[in-house]
Symmetry: C2
DNA sequence: CAGAATCCCATACGATACTG
DNA sequence: CAGTATCGTATGGGATTCTG
């Protein structure tokens, strides 16, 4: 399942613009890097998951966003929806081949963040957040 | 500067939740995967860039978002701001070591998307599109 | 259990104008 | 050139309710 560990970064280094504004690549990047995209995709790495499992794994996600994110990613062909006509309903979501390719390049990123986040977090002023609010 | 070759995905595969809801990792993931985060970070891979260069490279970004994204990423320690007291002003942005580590795991993702985006298409109808991207 | 539908607010984001 | 300030809108996204 190794897709391409060979960087192919030449295309990027050589170009002036990274992703042209109205390109599919921009769209896909937005889908993947949407608030919940990465979490859902990575959550599926272990194998098929049910709706409720995904909700637990992507901690904090609302049902609305789960549904929306799943549809978008399904539309992009990254995951597959498998509904069984039983009662109570059982639906499994799983990565497609394309989805597995994507996740395989996503994992190093997620792993890196998981390892280094604790050093970053602080960053002194307002914790890096642009608008630090909260606090009831 | 080798950082990424060892996946360390065990931590992810073993865990039930991916990123706990109120964890630094979530915050960092949000910063990086913000609408413009990836674009800016990758744009800096080639070396220091000036404000106006970044604006061109991250095609479509507004000044407001450029400023905001730069501040957030600077706050996270991914990039450095270098202002020279000359007239007209000249400011260079460049990746820190930490930023370079991050981008090094980001590049495979970006490259993958650049390669496959056109097959994905999505969005059903019109779906036209596209003059290949990244072509010199 | 797995979702669709509705309501509604916060903020992300863009456009424009102004400044050192 | 490299920003900041202000404003207005669109959209993301949570809470709640309803259904097969």
């Amino acid at each position: 399942m190794k897709v391409s560990t060979e960087p192919d970064q030449s295309a990027l280094q050589g170009a002036d613009g990274i992703f042209p504004a109205n390109c599919p690549s921009r769209t896909v990047l937005d889908h993947v890097s949407s608030k919940w995209g990465v979490l859902i995709l990575v959550a599926l790495w272990n194998g098929p998951q049910r709706w409720s499992e995904l909700r637990r794994r992507a901690e904090g996600i609302s049902e609305k966003m789960l549904a929306q994110t799943l549809k978008t990613l399904e539309g992009d062909g990254f995951l597959r929806r498998d509904a069984q006509p039983v009662i109570p309903p059982r639906v499994d979501y799983s990565l497609t081949d394309r989805g597995r390719e994507l996740v395989s390049v996503l994992l190093p990123l997620v792993a890196w963040i998981a390892e280094h986040a604790s050093e970053i977090v602080d960053a002194g002023p307002s914790a890096g957040a642009v608008t630090a609010i909260v606090e009831p």
